[in-house]
Structures are given as structure tokens and as C-alpha cells.
């Protein structure tokens, strides 16, 4: 029996999001969830780290590090403190996927302002329209050997 070799990547970094992107782009389960068209910002304000993920049809097309303004110039952005991101990713790593207390929806509801934020009430709803695709994407981080910096 062979043991699966995990890709190593540090969070937060473009390399980490690229590793995630490559995993889901080769994943039939992600494809079967259906098409997903959205531009999503990632914000980790206490580390001043901002990213932008582009979802198009059946793949995550691009991941890039951007300015805070560009992270907000998206359909919606996911904003959490570094410790909250770390807790979610560690929980996914420990369980193979988010447990019931660490899904994106649950974390969003616990934050009075929500973690899924947008300047536009219509574009924010992409968080719900494609929720299972986003959940599957982050659940796939269980396949990355994540180093926290």
C-alpha cells in the first residue's frame, strides 16, 4: 500500500492557494458539483494579506496576491483573522473536511458581520449560490501539508 504524499505549502501564500487550485481542478467530485462563476477575495487583515480567486466554469482559474482594494473589488470576500483561518484549516486537516462547527456557513453566521462580505447585496449571494463548491475547495486543503507562518 502506498501512502499519499501531500503537497507542502505555507498559509497564507499564493503557493497554498495554487496547490488548492490544482487539487480541485483535477478532482471529478468538484466538477460534478457543477459550474461555478465567481471572483472571490480572501482577506487576512491582521497579517495584511489579501488574495483573489477566480472561479470559472469547472475550474479555479487563477489565484493571486492583491491589494486590499482589489480583494474587495470582487463578488464577495471572505474575511477572518489569521487565528480564525488557522483554526478552520487545522480543523479540516484533522477531520479530512470541516466538521459541523467549522463549515463556511457556520463560521459566517457566528460573525456578526459575516465572513462573506460584499459591497453589493446581489453579488454577495454568490457565496450561497456556489456554497458547496467553496466548501469543497477549502475541504480539499486536507490534502495539503499546511505550514502556518
Amino acid at each position: 500500500m502506498t501512502q499519499e504524499t501531500k503537497v507542502k505549502a505555507s498559509f497564507p501564500s499564493v503557493e497554498w492557494f495554487d496547490a488548492l487550485r490544482e487539487i480541485v481542478n483535477a478532482d471529478d467530485v468538484y466538477r460534478r458539483i457543477g459550474t461555478c462563476d465567481a471572483v472571490v477575495g480572501i482577506k487576512i487583515p491582521d497579517r495584511q494579506k489579501y488574495f483573489r480567486l477566480t472561479f470559472e466554469a469547472f475550474e479555479v482559474l487563477n489565484a493571486s496576491e492583491v491589494s486590499e482594494v482589489d480583494a474587495e473589488g470582487t463578488d464577495f470576500w471572505l474575511e477572518m483573522s489569521y487565528e480564525r483561518w488557522k483554526e478552520m484549516i487545522q480543523n479540516i486537516g484533522d477531520n479530512g473536511k470541516a466538521d459541523l462547527n467549522h463549515t463556511l456557513n457556520t463560521i459566517d453566521l457566528e460573525d456578526p458581520d459575516g465572513i462573506a462580505r460584499s459591497h453589493d447585496g446581489y453579488r454577495r449571494d454568490a457565496f450561497y449560490r456556489f456554497n458547496q463548491s467553496f466548501q469543497h475547495l477549502f475541504d480539499s486543503s486536507a490534502k495539503i501539508d499546511t505550514q502556518f507562518v
Binding site: I33, G34, T35, D37, E56, A57, F58, L100, N101, T103, N105, T106, D108, L109, E110, D111, P112, G114, D120, G121, Y122, R123, R124, D125, Y128, R129, F130, N131, Q132, Q135
Partner: protein, 377 residues
């Protein structure tokens, strides 16, 4: 032969056309008549090659050349597809919506493709084996919610089913998308009934139904869409989010996440339709507020009257029936209602109705302050 055809339920003129056509076919096949082939010179646009994109050959991609011309007024009263050539004498179908502003949404074709791509099957996509026996009060509360969701889904299907035959064929993107919304409603009825009947529980009490009738009795599609897709579905989206939040198993969590996706598409249609309507019917803006005044008032009343649903939510959010748990459930329900109200108003603002905040029904206005922090169950 004419009598036989009429006895089978078709009208005399239809039967005559059918018989004449049969006779022509017989003459052509027996060599008695020279083929006509005039239909091959139909004056529609020819030589079209719609292009596939990353998502395959989509309905939106078919809108090329004259086939992409979507008129503000649809002049035909028959079932002729947009872009085909009309023939005289075809009976009217009795549609009542011929104006684009009365039903259009720019995202309709994309939402149709999205709904088809992201469809799911409750029978096999949900990990039903993860359901576990639950404390009696939790099972009863979840089953009461599932009863409510099933009822809402049946209503949504009936409402859309009632309006589809009113919409003329010029706007097939909307008709196609709403057909998937109707199927989504059937799926939601199915999945919540399955959840209620698969873990040792059963169905609960029906809801008072005041709001159902308000939606069903709406006299035009825009009123129906605003009440159903934006107001009612914003509330339903909030309930599905809470359902995922209090889920006791992978099965429940996935049911609610997938249902959220379906409802979000309906909200997206409603928001884009209202936006289109308001931009083209500037004088009817006060009328939209009247629709919402009526719908919000009935919804607020129903919310007060539906004790089983409210108490089921309190039990699920508090985690049980003890005094402390009930207090926690009440507090969390209040917190979530503030979020729902915020999301409802931001959707209306995105549709071009930001002033609704000032017109909100008094019973809903009390939820307009910022929510406090909630903790996971």
C-alpha cells in the same frame, strides 16, 4: 375520420388541418402529388453556428444574430418560438404577459444553465447513513421545520406553475429558468419530507398559511416575484442557513447547503427582475412599495402566529428544552432575524430600492439594529 378526431378532444379546425396534412402526406408518398418544399425557403436567419464555451453550448450562447433580438413587446399570441416564422391562423394561447419589463431578468439564461449544472439527487447524493438517533425534542423540532419547508416548497412550485402559462414565448430564457425553479421546489419538498421520515420522527403541524395566500393571490408577476423571490426567499435562506448551523449530521448539513444554493438562484432572479422592472417602469416604483407593504405585513403576522416553527427554531438554536437552553435559543433567534433583515434590505438595495429601509413594516423594523455575537451550538 373528422368525428373520430373530434371525439379524441381536439377542436374542429385542428382536426381539419391534421386530416389535410395526412392526405397530403399520403399523396406525396404514393407519388400522386409533387412535393411542395416551400417551407425550406422560410425567411428566418440561416447559417447560424452558435459557439461552445467553457461551459459547453449554453442557452445564452444561442442569442446570436437576429436570434439574440429580444423585443420589449412580444407580438405573437401563439406558442411560436422566438426567431421562427409565423403562419396565419394559429389559435392564440391565452398568455397575459407580452411585455419584457414584466418578467425579464438579465441573468435568466445563466441561472438556467447553473440550475441544470448544479442539480442534485436527494436519494443518492445525501449521506443518509450519517443520521443518528437524536434527543426527542431535537428530532421533533427538526421534523417540525422539515414540515414547514416541505409546505413552502409545494407552494413555490404551485405559484410558478400557475404563472408559467401566462408568459409568452418571446422570453424563453425566463420560462426555462423558472421551470428549473419549479423542479427545485419539487426537490426541496422531497428532501425535507425524506429527512422528516428517515430518523425515527415524522411530520409536524402545518403552518397558518396566511403568507402563502398572499403570494398566491398576487395579481401580477412582478408582485409575485418580489414577494416570493426576494421577501419570502430571503427569510427561507436565513432558515436554511440556521438549518446548516444546527445540523446534527453530515446529511443534514449537506441538505441545507445544497438547498441554499437553489434558493439563492431564485433570489438572484428576483433581484435582477426587480432591477430591470424599476429601470423601465419608473412610474411604478410606488406600486412596488405597496406590494412590499402588503407582503411584509402578512409575513410579520404569520411569523407571530406560527408558534410551532418559532419554538422549533428556539429548541434547535438553544440545544434543548431547559430554561437556559430556551433562553439561549430565543437570544440566537433574535440575532439571526437581524441578519435576515439586513440581507433582505441589501438585496432590495441591489435591485435599486435602497429606500425600502425607511418604508419597512414596523414589526420588521425592530430588527434593524446591529446583531450581537452568537456562539456555535
Amino acid at each position: 375520420m373528422l368525428v373520430t378526431q373530434m371525439e379524441s378532444g381536439i377542436r374542429a379546425d385542428q382536426a381539419e388541418r391534421f386530416i389535410a396534412q395526412q392526405e397530403r402526406m399520403r399523396q406525396v408518398s404514393s407519388g400522386e402529388e409533387t412535393p411542395y418544399f416551400g417551407w425550406m425557403h422560410v425567411p428566418t436567419e440561416w447559417g447560424i453556428r452558435a459557439r461552445r464555451g467553457k461551459k459547453g453550448l449554453t442557452v445564452g450562447a444561442l442569442n446570436v444574430g437576429t436570434y439574440g433580438d429580444i423585443p420589449d413587446e412580444w407580438p405573437y399570441q401563439t406558442e411560436m418560438p422566438r426567431g421562427a416564422h409565423p403562419i396565419p391562423g394559429v389559435p392564440a394561447m391565452g398568455y397575459s404577459i407580452y411585455e419584457k419589463a414584466e418578467l425579464w431578468a438579465d441573468n435568466a439564461a445563466d441561472l438556467y444553465e447553473e440550475a441544470i449544472q448544479r442539480r442534485w439527487r436527494p436519494a443518492t447524493d445525501i449521506p443518509w447513513d450519517t443520521l443518528q438517533p437524536l434527543p426527542d425534542e431535537i428530532e421533533r423540532a427538526m421534523c417540525q421545520l422539515c414540515t414547514y419547508f416541505s409546505e413552502k416548497a409545494l407552494l413555490a412550485g404551485d405559484v410558478v406553475g400557475k404563472w408559467l402559462p401566462e408568459m409568452s414565448y418571446g422570453y424563453h430564457e425566463v420560462k426555462l429558468y423558472l421551470s428549473t425553479a419549479e423542479f427545485d421546489a419539487a426537490r426541496h419538498f422531497e428532501v425535507f419530507r425524506k429527512r422528516a421520515l428517515s430518523n425515527g420522527g415524522g411530520l409536524g403541524m402545518q403552518s397558518p398559511g396566511y403568507f402563502h395566500r398572499a403570494i398566491f393571490d398576487a395579481r401580477n408577476w412582478t408582485e409575485t416575484s418580489v414577494a416570493l423571490h426576494i421577501l419570502s426567499n430571503s427569510f427561507l435562506m436565513g432558515l436554511y442557513q440556521v438549518g446548516e448551523y444546527v445540523a446534527q449530521s453530515e446529511a443534514e448539513a449537506l441538505i441545507f447547503r445544497l438547498s441554499m444554493q437553489d434558493i439563492a438562484r431564485q433570489i438572484a432572479y428576483g433581484v435582477q427582475h426587480l432591477k430591470y422592472f424599476l429601470l423601465r417602469k419608473i412610474d411604478r416604483r410606488p406600486e412596488v412599495h405597496t406590494y412590499l407593504n402588503k407582503a411584509e405585513a402578512i409575513m410579520a403576522y404569520e411569523d407571530e402566529q406560527d408558534t410551532p416553527r418559532r419554538e422549533a427554531l428556539i429548541i434547535l438554536l438553544g440545544g434543548g428544552l431547559s430554561k437556559e437552553q430556551v433562553q439561549e435559543g430565543v437570544s440566537k433567534l433574535d440575532y439571526f432575524k437581524r441578519r435576515w433583515m439586513r440581507d433582505y434590505l441589501t438585496r432590495l438595495a441591489a435591485a435599486g430600492l435602497p429606500e425600502r429601509r425607511e418604508h419597512l413594516h414596523p414589526a420588521l423594523k425592530r430588527y434593524l439594529v446591529e446583531p450581537a455575537v452568537a456562539q456555535a451550538v
